[in-house]
Symmetry: C2
Subunit: 124 residues, 2 copies
DNA sequence: CTTCGCTATATACAAATGTGCATAACGCTC
DNA sequence: GAGCGTTATGCACATTTGTATATAGCGAAG
């Protein structure tokens, strides 16, 4: 019944990626999630619900996203049949895909180096 | 004198790396900076000053660092000739180096993918 | 045995960030 | 034009995170 320290759980490197311009973030992980759910639902409020963001936070996030790039990533409409909606622009789709691709590359780099990291940080 | 939007500043991907265990962070970027300055100065308070961390924050950070791993990363002594001090253990040195190496790999992965990212997110 | 500089720790405060709720405006449908 | 669901926005509040400050305790050295 030996049980020393917390050996048994392993150390895992994690990374968070974001895009900056002029030293301010114009696309974060949360932002990408939001874009994704807007693409999936066609609605900002529904996207917020699914992500358990407050609507206000989602709206401000979206505002930053749309303001940070040369072209808007999301087009919103107010009123109308279903009350309104939000959809990704073609540019928004491209940015989202590029961000996710970059994330995958970063994850891959970490996975590649993980054995060396574990070896180097083995106690003793 | 055309000047449309903010074209002229470029979008740059950034990444933050940290190490988790049981879903809690046991080494962050700030933590690595702290280890580095402890290694350089032999003092927690001096390290905090250099990094412009409040001593309290530095101390709590260090507490988390030392508690998160199977072996302590930093050994502190209190009292004595110079009042006390803090020095990295051999294990601490190895962990710090491994973390910085991993960071370099992540940065390299980003740099490698940067052209493709810029191409994909070019407006139009 | 006093002094010194550092670690160790508590308490009160400040700033940033996010939540919850209220409300307005909009445009289709009935 | 009343009703509906959504975007758009303000405001009061809660939570988180860090700062500032004060104090105790330690151990070598004079």
């Amino acid at each position: 019944m030996k049980r020393r320290s917390r050996s048994g759980s392993s150390t895992t490197p994690r990374a968070r990626l974001w895009i900056e311009r002029d030293n301010i973030s114009i696309l974060s992980d949360d932002g990408a999630d939001l874009l994704e759910q807007i693409e999936a639902t066609g609605s900002l409020s529904e996207a917020a619900r699914r992500l358990r963001f407050s609507y206000r936070r989602a709206w401000m996030l979206l505002d930053d996203l749309n303001g940070g790039w040369d072209n808007p990533l999301v087009r919103t409409t107010v009123g109308g049949k279903r009350g309104g909606g939000a959809t990704l622009t073609d540019f928004g789709v491209r940015v989202l895909r590029a961000f996710r691709d970059l994330q995958l590359q970063v994850e891959a780099a970490i996975d590649l180096e993980l054995p060396a990291f574990r070896r180097a940080t083995r106690p003793g």
